[in-house]
């Protein structure tokens, strides 16, 4: 059974009552006989940080790639076209032999940004990579590559940004800078949907979490509400999450 948090019940969820900037209805995807994603519906509102969590193989990456328009769904609808959504894949999608600025410039041109130079300068400033603009991406650390990866996803100033496990390859310092950066986006009204297997990170940053298991949405709501549902208040979100999945047979 899917339990949905009513709009506005999420802990400090912004944009409550506002129209969703991204909405998916009944999205399904099969690989052969296996259901990777089954009848998933969700919505993200302006300034909201929505975390998609679940065990390995739950379908998090497949769902995000469908929302991003990278993978074609077998069924269901997504309210926005791919080019209207910022997309940050798990592995940095960058050209190692091009510099940071050249990568940004290329994708800004492909995104048909009105002012390519301004878009590149803006993203260099936002990501704090101005001093590395002339460096080839292959010479950057994993954290800096991820920053460029995120910057490319934001070049067209999308209302929705999707990130697939953005902090996986980052050290704690880099991770903290990433969240600081994303908080800035949220403050500007951008909706951020991201997947992670780090439930503590989801508890700490997300307004709402979507729990996926075997391709199905089994919970949508705030982390605190999940603890209440399980009746494990005080034990911590991770324990509540594991218990929730166990009770549902996952």
């Amino acid at each position: 059974m899917t339990q949905s948090a009513r709009p506005g019940t999420g802990v400090s969820a912004p944009g409550a009552g506002a129209a969703p900037v991204l909405e998916a209805r009944g999205v399904s995807k099969r690989y052969g006989a296996r259901h990777a994603v089954r009848q998933v519906s969700l919505a993200a509102r302006p300034g909201e940080l929505l975390a998609i969590i679940g065990p390995n193989g739950a379908g998090k990456t497949t769902l995000l790639s469908i929302l991003a328009g990278e993978t074609r769904a077998d069924g269901g609808t997504v309210s926005r076209r791919p080019e209207e959504i910022g997309w940050v894949p798990q592995q940095p999608a960058l050209y190692g032999r091009l510099t940071v600025a050249e990568n940004l410039r290329l994708f800004a041109r492909l995104e048909r940004c009105a002012d390519v130079g301004a878009a590149v300068e803006r993203m260099l400033a936002q990501t704090g990579l101005g001093d590395r603009a002339g460096d080839r991406v292959e010479t950057l650390s994993g954290g800096n590559r991820q920053r460029v990866n995120v910057a490319i996803g934001l070049l067209s100033e999308p209302q929705v940004l999707l990130l697939d496990e953005p902090s996986t390859a980052l050290d704690p310092g880099q991770r903290e800078r990433l969240w600081e950066f994303l908080r800035g986006l949220l403050a500007g009204g951008t909706a951020v949907v991201y997947s992670t297997h780090n439930v503590q990170e989801a508890e700490r940053h997300a307004h709402r979490v979507v729990v996926l298991a075997d391709g199905e949405v089994v919970y949508v709501g705030s982390p605190r509400e999940l603890e209440d549902v399980v009746g494990a208040s005080g034990l911590g979100f991770e324990t509540a999450f594991v218990e929730f999945l166990r009770r549902r047979g996952h």
Partner: protein
């Protein structure tokens, strides 16, 4: 598409090893092929012991003097001759490896040639430690001796024919300084007819004279045929070359140039197309690009276009380089370009199909090599080298890949010995087919 092209050119510019390989490889192939075509093989060092006394080289055949030194000079030009004074010296040089072989021309060779009762013999000594070079020496000497044999045989035949003509028709003949008049079978028949007219028609003398006349006529008629018989003996096997397949004959140099350029075109194009397409996936950029920024078809067209353009330029530069060594018809340059571009398009589409299957550049490059080499070898299997069924199979397989038509197109473009349109159409059909396969591959695996 232009931004993607620009990006790929930037990446190529920053991949010096790859660019160096793509530039140096055709240059090296061009120079090697050019040198091989323009330089004669090095002459083997051969010791020569000529025991024929000075002035003894001239023999008299049928009253005509023939200088046999002419034939030995031709042989000496085919080798690097080292003159020696004795057989022992020649053997020593061969044994020590100073020369690859030795040729001993005995003193009685001209006498034997003149008398003609037994064949004249030359002796060849060689060092067998280097089998290839020893074979080269033997082949060189044999070839020259056969040339001399053929020339002398023709001379002997001419002399014999002159003698036969004398027997048939009669005439003057000179031998050992004395001149003779030979009546000949024809005039003898005339004399006998006149004599028969003077004896009674049914007398025994008339019958005997008639028998001699019949014999003479039969002998003359048969000896008239001996011209052709002797000519056949002098040259038992003649070569009558006729073209059965193809409109003309392709010069070896044109074929070698076309082959060198096709091989280079194949490697450069396949590696570029497969590598640049695989790079998009290796860098994880492919999925980002095709989610609305660029269509898969546009991406494919960009890779095929880039690879075809770069490799066409390389192929044409290669042809220009080879023109320094081999005579090529510059007036046919537009046809070279058409063949190079069509071949490049075929290979580029095939490379894109390979790149669509591979997820990384190394795998794509390896796959390109592994697929292309057997195809090139298959296309070069000559008819008759394998059974007809297997040959037909190689032809069918070759027709499914661009190497064979690209080679045919370049050969046709270089010397016009065959039709150019058919291989061009073949290449364009293959380009379309491989591009479709690549597009399906991108959808399936991308």
């Amino acid at each position: 598409m232009r931004w993607l092209l620009l990006k790929d050119l930037q990446i190529l510019r920053r991949s010096p090893l790859l660019v160096a390989l793509l530039v140096i490889y055709p240059i090296v192939v061009s120079v090697l092929i050019g040198l091989a075509l323009s330089r004669a093989p090095e002459k083997p060092r051969v010791a020569i012991l000529n025991q024929v006394p000075a002035g003894g080289e001239i023999i008299s055949l049928g009253g005509e003097e023939v200088n046999t030194a002419r034939y030995s000079e031709e042989l000496f030009e085919a080798v690097d001759p080292v003159r020696v004074g004795s057989r022992e010296e020649a053997m020593e040089l061969v044994r020590e490896g100073e020369v690859l072989g030795a040729l001993i021309i005995p003193a009685d060779i001209t006498t034997k040639l003149q008398i003609g009762l037994e064949p004249a013999t030359v002796e060849v000594l060689y060092n067998a430690e280097e089998p290839v070079k020893a074979q080269f020496v033997q082949d060189t000497i044999k070839s020259q001796v056969q040339d001399a044999n053929a020339a002398l045989t023709r001379k002997f035949t001419d002399v014999a024919l002159d003698y036969l003509d004398l027997v048939v028709s009669g005439g003057d003949f000179s031998f050992l300084g004395r001149s003779f008049n030979v009546l000949g079978l024809g005039p003898a028949e005339q004399v006998l007819r006149q004599a028969r007219a003077k004896v009674p028609p049914n007398s025994p003398e008339a019958r005997q004279i008639q028998q001699v006349i019949d014999f003479g006529r039969l002998a003359r008629q048969n000896l008239d045929l001996s011209d052709e018989v002797l000519s056949s003996v002098g040259e038992p096997i003649r070569v009558d070359a006729r073209v059965v397949e193809g409109a003309g004959s392709t010069a070896l140099s044109s074929f070698a140039v076309a082959l060198a350029v096709t091989v280079s075109l194949m490697f450069v194009t396949l590696l570029l197309a497969a590598g640049t397409l695989a790079l998009e996936r290796e860098e994880n950029a492919f999925r980002r690009l095709v989610r609305g920024l660029v269509s898969r078809t546009t991406l494919l067209a960009e890779k095929v276009g880039l690879a075809a353009a770069c490799s066409s330029v390389v192929a044409l530069l290669m042809l220009c380089g080879l023109a320094l060594f081999v005579e090529l018809d510059w007036a046919r340059f537009p046809l070279w370009a058409a063949a190079a571009v069509a071949g490049a398009l075929g290979f580029a589409a095939m490379g894109a199909a390979i790149g669509a299957l591979a997820r990384e550049v190394r795998a794509a490059s390896l796959l390109a090599f592994m697929v292309s080499l057997p195809i090139a070898f298959l296309a070069l299997v000559p008819s008759g080298a394998v059974s007809s069924g297997l040959y037909d199979a190689t032809q069918v397989i070759s027709a499914l890949f661009p190497f064979d038509p690209a080679l045919a197109a370049l050969v046709a473009a270089l010397d016009g010995s065959s039709d150019l349109l058919a291989p061009l159409v073949h290449l364009l059909v293959l380009a379309l087919a491989f591009a479709t396969a690549a597009r399906l591959g991108l959808r399936r695996f991308g």
